[in-house]
Amino acid sequence: MSESTPILEIKKINKYFPGVKALSNVDFRLFKGEVHTIMGQNGAGKSTLVKVLTGVHRHDSGEMLLEGKSIRPDSPLAAQRLGISTVYQEINLCPNLSVAENIFVGRQPMRFGRIDWKELNRRAEEALSRLHISIDVTQLLSSYSIAVQQMVAIVRVLDVSSKILVLDEPTSSLDETEVDQLFKVIRNLRDEGLAILFITHFLDQTYQISDRITILRNGELVGEFHTEALPKLELIAKMLGKELSEFSYDITGGESKKEGARAEQEAKNLLQVKGLGLRGSIAPFDLDLNEGEVLGLAGLLGSGRTEMARLIFGIDAANRGEIFVRGKKKDINAPRAAMLAGMGFCSEDRKNEGIFSELTVRENIILALQGARGTFRYIPKKKQLEIAEELIKSLDIKTPSANNEAGQLSGGNQQKLMLARWLATNPFILILDEPTRGIDVGAKVEVMELILNLSRQGIGVIFISSEFEELIRCSTKIAVLKDKEKIAELSGEAMSESGIMHAIAGGK
């Protein structure tokens, strides 16, 4: 690695979107022959920065220097011409064409007005050999693993003039051996002198492959670090914006309290999950939820919290493991089955997976209950209104009347509306995925009080939040997830921000 001059230098770059400042005075450097990872939570500005670099967005102020020359690519194609090659998260290849065709589609070598297949295949083999891959390039792309397809995608964007390779979450659908394969290729390219910009949510992979890490938070630069000089715990603290000293006290006192808690856990078990998992989504996990408990799911973005919730509620069908509800084994293969077993689920994506904006508040509340009763055991309008009005009152949903459209409510009230829909069905297990996201502070407090109230009534709550403080305040125990795997369960005094971070960093 030459420290002298970076191949890419971004200086004090700013990018505004209507109402938000996505990037604010961000600096970034990329050197030849290094793998550089950008890390940050949701909304940190990672993807905006990459999109500015690859010509999807244009920056509002600041400067981008490529080999000392100022650049301002106005399209992905322009960026490609400048030598910035990008492989996006979703592979944009044609599975029904051969490997060679995929690599050269749109620029096939011609001979006498026809495609020169021999030359095409020869060049494809040559290009792949640069990555030390030798496969039969005349086979259909779909006959190879996702990892190989990913590499074909890399070969496709690379050419002689490539200076920078941007890889956006290339490993999200690969398993461990495939990741190793891909990393080998990436290291080869790095050693050839290519500058590689890597984006991932996986902590361990970051440490495996990166030479340098840049951390962003809320659109601002936190800092640039050499990987070996940045312990995992510090990285997590910086991503979340906490001071490390807040967490560094000893946490060994937790164990005894855990024992004490176990003694009173003779309480009725509501939900028991054994070895539930889905390949490519989340590794097999166990969970226990008793009456009146709040189980928090903690983890960084992309750690598998939502995947866990979706599996329990039957949105994604698990391919292994069992679910017991109140001690009885249940086959939960669809949300309907979960609902009939006594569960409720509020999605993190209110707009697309929760609220029916053109239906009235009353209809939004009554829908799940009516669904459980079926089409023909119709709840009369009067009774519907009663149920709706009672829940509007008890959850303090602010709406002019039960007959207003749900789309007119504020985010916090829509959140409560989803909760009301499930409370109407009288569930004994409630899964709440990020119920406090995107709502104002006052509403957050209200939602948390609601969660505590529900648990006092004996409902078991599974609570997902990115805010560790919220989890600690509400939960009786916390399951910690990392890289699509449940890695720890904390209770008692171990439930602290430091405890969670240590667990994620692997310092249990």
Binding site: I315, R336, N352, E358, L367, Q370
Partner: protein, 338 residues
């Protein structure tokens, strides 16, 4: 009152229909004259209802399909299938003796058409095909099936009792009007006095949230397409009975477009969600009144389509929220000035 009308979206289609009728009152001689002959009512208004019946029936089924953010463009072809099947089973015996009992023939035709609807519904709900593609298949294949049932010929029917469906009168009014009224009422009760209507709207607005709310959205989709097939079947029986013949090529030709237009004019959005059965009926009546008016004026057929298009354009503009807001703004300013 006016506000409630506006919210139910039936106001503007009704206004358009009234304008059309007023136009006829002033410019078409004897448009509203209704005569009584042999105890039956005759006249343009009766004709409009009678001739509009097939499209109104299609529009009932299509309203529900469109409410789920779907579309069924195969209904015209299914009309032809229905006519073909019933004609084949009744047979073209010149003495008027049906090959099979007429009731049986009608039941089989309806069953076949419902099955065609189930086929559409399976493609959409189970295989996840886009509705326009799924129903395009039957749109094309349906004509072929209809041709097979009639042996690629026009079958003429002479079994008198069958003619009652499309030509008969009951208490002074054409019998087909009663069929429409009955099916409309039944659909209204089935959707608004059970939870079905809400479920259909929920699927149309947010299919994911519907599934997450524990509702079996697949079966709801299957149901509405099956029902649309059934409605097209009833429509086909009336079409066949009115002309006492089945023509695989021309029966129900382009009906799907008029029916979709009727639903949209009636205020149901192609984006799915809220649906308005009565609105769709008004929409169908607008289209039929227009056709009748154009005939009454002896407008050459090549121009009549243009006239139709212009009126549809006008009604759509009337319904647009933006235009309403703009007009309200202009009127408000004038009032303020005065």
């Amino acid at each position: 009152m006016l506000k409630a009308l506006n919210r139910s979206k039936i106001l503007w289609p009704l206004v358009a229909l009234v304008i059309l009728l007023l136009f006829n009152l002033f410019f078409t001689p004897n448009f509203f004259r209704i005569e009584i002959m042999e105890g039956h009512l005759f006249g343009n208004p009766i004709d409009i209802l009678k001739n509009g019946a097939p499209i109104m029936l299609l529009a009932i089924g299509l309203t529900l399909v469109i409410a789920t953010h779907g579309i069924d463009i195969s209904v015209g072809s299914v009309v032809a299938i229905s006519a073909g099947v019933v004609a084949m089973l009744i047979g073209g015996d010149l003495a008027g003796n049906p090959r099979f009992p007429i009731a049986f023939a009608m039941a089989v035709a309806l069953l076949v058409c419902t099955a065609a609807g189930v086929w559409n519904g399976m493609l959409v709900s189970r295989i996840g095909m886009q509705p326009i593609v799924a129903t395009l298949i039957l749109f094309v294949a349906g004509r072929g099936i209809a041709m097979v049932t009639t042996n690629a010929m026009v079958i003429w029917l002479y079994a008198k009792p069958f003619a009652y469906l499309g030509q008969g009168y009951l208490i002074g009014l054409p019998f087909s009007i009663y069929i429409v009224a009955f099916l409309l009422l039944a659909t209204f009760l089935a959707t608004r006095k059970t939870a079905l209507g809400m479920f259909i709207e929920a699927v149309g607005i947010n299919p994911t949230a519907t599934r997450f709310s524990g509702i079996n959205s697949k079966n709801i989709l299957l149901g509405v397409y099956a029902f649309s097939g059934f409605c097209a079947g009833v429509s086909g029986l009336i079409v066949c009975s009115t002309v006492m013949s089945a023509d695989g090529n021309n029966a129900g030709n382009l009906f799907e477009l008029d029916a979709i237009l009727a639903v949209v004019l009636g205020g149901t959005s192609l984006n799915g969600g809220r649906f308005f059965l009565l609105g769709s009926m008004v929409g169908a009546l607008i289209i039929q009144t227009l056709t009748t008016t154009i005939y009454a004026f002896n407008v050459p057929p090549e121009i009549s389509q243009v006239v139709k298009a212009l009126v549809v354009y006008g009604v759509s503009l009337l319904q647009s929220d933006r235009l309403q807001v703009a007009v309200a703004g202009v009127l408000g300013r004038r009032e303020a000035a005065a």
